[in-house]
Symmetry: C2
Subunit: 420 residues, 2 copies
Amino acid sequence: MGPGPINADPRVLRAMSAQLVGQYDPAMTAYMDETQALYREVFQTENEQTMLIDGTSRAGIEAALVSLIEPGDRVLVPVFGRFGHLLVEIAGRCGAEVHTIEVEWGQVFPTSVIVEAIERVKPALLAVVHGDTSTTVAQPLDGLAEVCARHGVLFYTDVTASLAGNTFRTDELGLDAVTAGLQKCLGGPSGSSPVTFSPRAVEAIERRRSIEAGIRAEGDAVSAHPIRSNYFDLAMVFDYWGPRRLNHHTEATSMLYGARECARLLVEEGVDDAVARHALHGGAMLEGLRGLGLEVFGDTAHKMNNVTAVVIPDGVDGDAVRGELLDDFGIEIGTSFGPLHGKVWRVGTMGYNARRDTVLTTLAALEAVLRRAGAPITAGGGVGAAYDVYADAGRGAGAGAGAADAAGAADSADAAGGAV
Amino acid sequence: MGPGPINADPRVLRAMSAQLVGQYDPAMTAYMDETQALYREVFQTENEQTMLIDGTSRAGIEAALVSLIEPGDRVLVPVFGRFGHLLVEIAGRCGAEVHTIEVEWGQVFPTSVIVEAIERVKPALLAVVHGDTSTTVAQPLDGLAEVCARHGVLFYTDVTASLAGNTFRTDELGLDAVTAGLQKCLGGPSGSSPVTFSPRAVEAIERRRSIEAGIRAEGDAVSAHPIRSNYFDLAMVFDYWGPRRLNHHTEATSMLYGARECARLLVEEGVDDAVARHALHGGAMLEGLRGLGLEVFGDTAHKMNNVTAVVIPDGVDGDAVRGELLDDFGIEIGTSFGPLHGKVWRVGTMGYNARRDTVLTTLAALEAVLRRAGAPITAGGGVGAAYDVYADAGRGAGAGAGAADAAGAADSADAAGGAV
């Protein structure tokens, strides 16, 4: 129940144990095509160039940035948490002239502040994290695409922490590049990064196309300003995933099986229903933590559905509580980074773990551990408040989420056997 | 039975279906430590800095090169196949001044030619592929370390295609950096790259240490010449795998389970016994292909145990034969790249597929398909020649390999269910 990686859906793990097939086996290339189509639904996009980068979500970020940024380009990064700093860091290593605006961790930017910065900096690229797990809040991204288009700015976001747990529509938001990971609300393991690129982003990347020696044919492109990375050269990655199937890396077969199954599960459930499920169980966790008497951190109006941060009470050893929860109850929660390290706990309700049983169990266990730690808590207040949320949902719009719960319960034997 | 990826060992697939644990769960960090120790045995090294890069083997290559090469450095690459060109390509993108020497594909360099080039070019780094799957031959690497040390040259090789199927000892060869992949003789899926670095390489990398903003503490390093990639910044990767456990990427848990199981299997069998098994079955395949009347490609004195290239007979449609083998017999073999594309077939005997049953079945199926294609073949010559090799081995040193076969046979039900 940490901020991710979390327990994978057992169906994803079973998919990953399927035997390998050859890189150009028709079964494999069909799986690749199918995975592209599935992630178009997940990202809510028509983008042809939608695929996986073989690496963790950080690999997807670097692939997008190194392929979109030419050394010397101005890049604007609004920073509201640890992962904004990561975008600054990676863009800097790509040779960008990086400009930042910052707000206090836990807050988001008013759209007008980002618009003002775009008009002032006139960057080639606006790079912004959607949901920053370090602070639990998500930056609203609507209203930025028009401004970007007007100034010829490419618009990129990372949705690793938010995708599938919060409403996100690539094409409606007018994004040019989006990167993600499996280990949060998608319910899979870290190690594969779904990405999508608009025709405008593809055009920028194609201008730098340079096919490597060893597989280059007569007439193939050799750019004067090739992308600085070979592994993350998206022009070559497009060729590998496209009809030409030009050899680049050897696609990570088991991770592809896993990523495909994550998307199949999500599309079966329905992307909007999955978001509603995260809203329900995240809401129950939020009220439960408040019901225990804990103070919620950050701007809750912009909090992601799938993770909640609470202030560690005065006089309580945060790491000792986390250790006891893990050792005695088999439940992991997280702390955070930088200015929040040791100041907050982060509790996730995401992917396969966004379920009623996990929420109630976590609240009951946390109450027990906090009581032993001598923290002032409201007896029964956590589970009680969560039950109230479920009761309200039962009277309202919660029917879809309830069905998802039942499906989850059927697999709970797998979930219980979590540790390996 | 292609040049890789090949069928994974069923134990590796089972390991990958284990439930995830948190990134800093003591079970997870213990697995990471254990994986490092196992790969020290696999690489035959004492190097502290031995770990996995989260990506395909190409990711391991890029991590080594981008971390070792400072822009402007001279790099020497002896090219004897497609993957030599890949090293040239990646080193070039890292900003190196790349010098090459070349031999015809299918041949290797006499050591003296590489030594002469080192003395002439005086590179900062010698980067050479050990076994190049595109041509099936392995470059002898002994006798180079002393020359490199004398001239202050870092000595790097990629052993993706050769490791665990051919004798390879990192420390005995005096290598400073070695990268690999799971999808060949290690019997796992593509997507994780085992790597190891000598203290001398670590020193070169540490000089460029630059801890990223967002997790940087007072007094932490910020280099003036940071490594150009964040994802492949080995100084940060070392911190993540080391006792400080400084957050970098989120380790790809399922791939780690798989990589760990690949190494466990190899260490259980014994690295030398695994090499002997590859020599036995690779030898049987080689003689079998010759027995069918096919011409073996390349310098067989330097051929890797785990892959054999044969010239496609005149008048035979190479792709049609491969298609028929796959569709009608469920057996995949490969062609090659560049000058060899459509000229040779490559037949693998590697990892879990280096077994007597796979060798004999492949030879029988190939005979049937070649006969239908109208190629002049020796009836029964393939299986017969392979049987002769096994009979000779049975009278000699083949006992260990026989035991490995028996263990493989127990799992053959899994192998038969190969396609997904």
